[in-house]
Amino acid sequence: MLEAITLARPPMLEPVSLALPPGTVTGVIGPNGAGKTTLLKALAGLSRGPGSVLIDGEPLTPHPRRLAWLPASRDAVWPMTAATLVALGLGPGAAPDAQAVAAALAACDAAPLADRPVNQLSTGERARVLLARALVARPAWLLLDEPIANLDPGHRLDVMALLAAEAQRGAGVVLALHDLDLAARCDRLLLIHKARLVADGTPADVLQERHLAGIFGVTRAANGWQRAANAPLGD
């Protein structure tokens, strides 16, 4: 159980209290700049501020098997191969585990990329390799900031399925995303708007018209989405 107790990062995030059970996929949605990344980083224990985060009742101490953080950045400074990069996810000083690396790459459909330098990959390919790095140590919790942002539609669906499978094996997954259709596949959604947690519940609860129009400024249309009339843009 991942608990946040009056977790706040003023002014970017107002106090939030949550309890996330393992084995679920939780999506964090909200307009640009709402505070999604701030919340995720705070949950991952990467920023300092008021409130606390507990995993199974204990204060959070970072460890590859306990928690994996995947930032939105796709930068890779060093021209190492995908396999080398993924292996770093096992943690500093960990014993090499070629099998785990291969499995993680395969799960992200990046096995053919194993021996290619990561700085020569396309953004989407690199995104999948970076995701494999987050998975390789089979952590109990996955906190992912926009993991599907650069992926093509096919791979987006693959990743959502992969995350669902991770949840099935007992991991807890929390991911930030913009794709509202895919967000509907999560077990639970957190809607962040202007630094506040505005809604918390099932996709059906959260993805209501009033939220979609009022916060995102969109409505469902026959062929997908369109701008809502009278949408209070920027509110």
């Binding site: 980083k41 991952a44 224990g45 990467l46 101490t61 970072p62 460890h63 590859p64 928690l67 994996a68 953080w69 995947l70 930032p71 950045s73 930068d75 400074v77 060093w78 021209p79 190492m80 191969t81 080398t84 990069l85 770093l88 996810g89 943690g91 500093p92 000083g93 330098p117 790095r133």
Partner: protein, 314 residues
């Protein structure tokens, strides 16, 4: 690959011990005591210092590039080496410090320059220092400190001081003493040992500061650890031999392809390669008929490589 490098080092060291204006073997035939003095007091310190200082510069260069996640970062170009020279100059020419005092001055100078560089580059305050900002800060720090050395030597009590400027800015291993070796080498070894201990954490840092933190790396502590280790690994050497450029910049690039481009794992091979490079440069200094400074030769080898890096890069 490490074995090959170590063998190369040993071969160069043996050559370095054998090379000199005087034929050691014939002296030994004449008077073993004199030959012993020549070997222990002159040849051994020179070779030992080339090994130790080269290793320190190579390892520190690799570690700095790993810490700053920047292939252009290097203590011998971005300020710390110049800072070490200034620290040693102040300790030796003004405070009358001996070998130990100058080594301490060198280490503190390197430390101060490192802190100044990282502060100017905005490091440690958040996301990784942008390459442009880091290099600009480094050029500024190195230039400033170089001018300060010039000023210090002009104001020093000894009238010979200003003639030493070239030695401090370009390096020299000529006529270095055994006490200098016995003081610098352990300090450099300590610095290198600290760097090697941090190598796995530096590898993890390749994923970015946040990810490294989530993997259990204490990044604030790592910064402090590396800064102190780099100061130890470079400061004492500069206090003895002056600021030798390019070794720390070039050598990590040469060895990283063999460590899978893991920046932390490159520290040990870079140290060995740095030792080999400095040994080779110092041998060249003694063999070439021209009177060239050590730093000129390391730069002669390093600069074209540096240029090709830039051309190949973007």
């Amino acid at each position: 690959m490490i074995r090959l490098l170590a063998l190369l080092c040993l071969a160069l060291a043996a050559a370095s011990l054998a090379i000199g204006p005087v034929d050691l073997a014939s002296v030994w035939a004449r008077d073993p005591e004199l030959a012993r003095t020549l070997f222990v007091e002159l040849r051994l310190p020179r070779t030992g210092l080339a090994l130790a200082i080269g290793a320190g510069l190579g390892g520190a260069g690799a570690a700095t590039q790993a810490l700053l996640r920047n292939p252009l970062a290097s203590p011998d170009v971005l300020g710390p080496s110049t800072g070490a020279a200034l620290g040693a100059v102040l300790a030796g020419y003004f405070l009358g410090a001996g070998v130990i005092g100058m080594a301490a001055g060198g280490i503190m100078g390197a430390l101060a320059a490192l802190l100044l560089l990282l502060g100017l580059a905005g490091f440690g305050a958040g996301p990784a220092a942008g390459s442009t900002r880091l290099v600009l800060a480094g050029v500024a720090v190195a230039t400033l400190l170089g001018v300060a050395i010039n000023l210090a030597l002009s104001l020093a009590p000894s009238p010979f001081a200003l003639y030493d400027l070239m030695i401090w800015l370009m390096g020299s291993l000529a006529d270095r003493t055994l006490p200098q070796l016995l003081i610098a080498a352990p300090l450099i070894a300590l610095g290198l040992a600290l760097l090697v201990r941090a190598a796995p954490a530096l590898d993890a840092l390749a994923l970015g500061e946040e990810v490294a933190q989530s993997l259990g790396v204490a990044t604030a502590g790592l910064n402090r650890h590396i800064i102190i280790a780099v100061a130890l690994a470079t400061g004492a050497g500069v206090a003895v031999a002056g600021s030798i450029a390019f070794v720390g910049l070039v050598v990590p690039h040469l060895v990283r392809p063999f460590t899978g481009h893991r920046p932390g794992a490159a520290i040990v091979p870079a140290a060995i390669a740095g030792a080999a490079l400095l040994l080779a440069a110092d041998i060249a200094v003694r063999l070439l008929p021209l009177d060239l400074r050590l730093g000129v030769l390391t730069a002669l080898i390093g600069a074209p490589f540096f240029l090709s890096l830039i051309l190949r890069g973007r």
